[in-house]
Amino acid sequence: MKFLDEYRDRKAVDRVAGEIRKTVTRSWTIMEVCGGQTHTILKSGLEDLLPPQVTLVHGPGCPVCVTPLELIDKAVAIASRPGAILCSFGDMLRVPGSARSLFDAKAEGGDVRVVYSPLDAVKVARQNPAREVVFFAVGFETTAPGNAMAVWQAAREGLENFSILVAHVLVPPAIEAILSAPACRVQGFLAPGHVCAVVGFEQYEPIARRYHVPIVVTGFEPLDLLEGVRMTVAQLESGRAEVENQYSRAVTREGNRAAQKVVAEVFEVADRRWRGIGEIPGSGLRLREAYRRFDAEERFALAARGVVESPECISGLVLQGLKKPYECPAFGSKCTPERPLGAPMVSSEGACAAYYLYGRHRHERV
């Protein structure tokens, strides 16, 4: 398949892996930020090709995993309202709230619909003028333009029955939070290519300087990831700490200006809580005043309830790269994709799910 097979080519992969082996002289810990990258690594067995000195730890870039429990509870509450239609990306449906998931709400009669695009949710609102249609706006910078466009379009059409439940988070503040944690062991980052395709990578340059850490904007195919590791290791071995772009076929330094413009029109930066990690200042988006009427939390006056995470779930440590999923005592026993304690076990981008689905043979042999 064009544009994919080139990046899964065994010969090319072997060549880059050989270069990493030649370059590396001591141990390095590198974090891939995005859950999509984590899944490629596990799914393609990439770690089998890396020298033992290179350790990959998995970052917080799984939007489903970091969406706070209370927001999932709010989505479930909306889905359970008679007459309401809750539209969501499919990924969110399995994630456990404090009591129930959206799948449970659906099984109990709630109208929960999986959409591929937020604009499909706008269409649902248009087709059902007598019903409240809410889109669960989850994601990083990658999904923000589409979600902003949905709100912008609803405003332009005067769709009064459409709103979004905002759970938007931003990558750079999360990287800073990880780097400033005392126990941080990450020495280099593979930055998420898709996020950078939207916002560019200027924002990462001050972080690389301040913390003296190499950051390589990296794609999602096996060869992309291996090349990202090679570039990061080369920087680490020579003492450099720069922002480099491995994913140049999709990412430019300034990013997609048109997408940034619609995001800035509709959203503004706000503080946000991350599930398992806590509040990170300036790490999220909320609707601007002019669009606040499309905010589902305000429209339905959903009160925040104090909810407690399972004390056994160590997803916060996993999301910060401090623990590997299999180091959790509940992994694979009390916590499985069918009975998850935390979101990383059910999301298709969650690190725990990746290890459970693809990587069990690895640590079971240890």
């Binding site: 080519d9 990924d91 109990e108 298709s348 990587g359």
Partner: protein, 348 residues
């Protein structure tokens, strides 16, 4: 009032209601079978957990099977619910090593269904039955209120005489066996999904629905020592291999590059975030045969249109019992688990 008591040693599945994934062919389906159906109906034929039951009636060994069809939309590229209802049951019999002979069909129709649709479906069933060499000998019709069914459900059952002297099933699988996939994977699931979701691809992807007794019979005729057969329906190749690996307590190693998936299906799966190993098929099976027979088996299959894409996809191992391990196209290894829940489209 309980007719029987469920004395299952394990807790009931999470949640107190049926979710869609309980019918997905993956882990929850298996939980439902283990925790609700098997304890209630326990008997040796059921416990074999094959695609159909093997029973003895008046000295004759018969395969007996049933299946419900609830596909939406009713008509999709390459087939309709009628083809599926015949081929699915025919194939369950074939996987037992039985020549499919007689079928029953029950129709559950929703008030308001267009007569024309019913006629189209019934005509397809007749054609499929002729192609598979079976007769539809008994049936039933029910009509339910509008809203009580999704237009039309069909339940078929079938019987056939076992034509293979050896017992075919997971218990006959041996380490060293070759794992043969009968053709390219995923076309049926993608064909249905594309209509359901209104997705359009450059080349229309048609369902692979087809009867599979002829290629199975050809394997027997060529004296291939068939150990196990399984048709790849819901849950795809991954679920079938996991079921066999755990039932027999062996490992199965497969190679990503050896598994046939046509480019259009691969592309659609990439776009939708689906894994072709889990996507449904309706005209594909996996055969376990001794390594020495593998080449001959593939030659026999490739000579027939319905299995012209057959290939050896892997082998049975003694390592890592109960586990399916895939060698990726870049040479890494990973576990291929049974599908957990529904395959869901991703966020980004």
């Amino acid at each position: 009032m309980n007719e029987f008591s469920l004395t299952c040693p394990v807790p009931l599945p999470a949640g107190d209601r049926i979710q869609l994934a309980h019918g997905g062919g993956g882990k929850l389906t298996n939980q439902l079978i283990d925790r609700v159906f098997l304890p209630a109906f326990s008997n040796p034929a059921l416990e074999a957990r094959h695609d159909g039951a093997v029973v003895t009636v008046g000295g004759a060994r018969l395969a007996f099977t049933t299946d419900g069809y609830v596909v939406r939309p009713l008509i999709f590229p390459g087939g309709n619910i009628g083809d599926l209802a015949v081929n699915g049951t025919v194939n369950d019999l074939a996987m037992c090593g039985a020549r499919p002979q007689y079928l029953s069909a029950a129709f559950i129709l929703e008030e308001g269904l267009e007569m024309e649709t019913l006629r189209t479906v019934v005509a397809s069933m007749r054609k499929a039955a002729e192609a598979a060499g079976v007769e539809l000998v008994t049936g039933d019709t029910k009509v339910v209120d509008r809203g009580s069914a999704d237009r039309m459900f069909i339940v078929t059952a079938g019987v056939g005489a076992i034509e293979c002297g050896r017992a075919i099933g997971p218990q006959a699988v041996e380490p060293g066996d070759a794992v043969i996939v009968s053709g390219d994977l995923g076309a049926h699931g993608i064909a249905v999904l594309s209509v359901r979701e209104g997705l359009e691809f450059e080349a229309e992807i048609e369902s692979d629905t087809a009867p599979l007794w002829a290629p199975v019979e050809a394997l027997f005729a060529a004296d291939v020592e068939v150990h196990c057969l399984r048709d790849l329906t819901r849950g795809g190749l991954a679920s079938a291999l996991n079921e066999i690996a755990s039932a027999r307590g062996v490992g199965i190693a497969i190679e990503e590059l050896a598994i046939p998936v046509r480019p259009a299906v691969r592309a659609a799966c990439e776009l939708l975030g689906l894994d072709p190993l889990y996507v449904a098929n309706e005209g594909r099976f996996v055969a376990f045969v001794p390594a020495r027979d593998a080449g001959r088996a593939v030659d026999v299959l490739r000579a027939m249109l319905v299995t012209s894409g057959a290939a050896v996809a892997g082998r049975v191992t003694e390592a890592e019992p109960g586990t399916v391990v895939l060698e990726s196209r870049i040479g890494g290894r990973r576990v291929v688990d049974m599908l957990s829940g529904e395959q869901l489209p991703r966020i980004c």
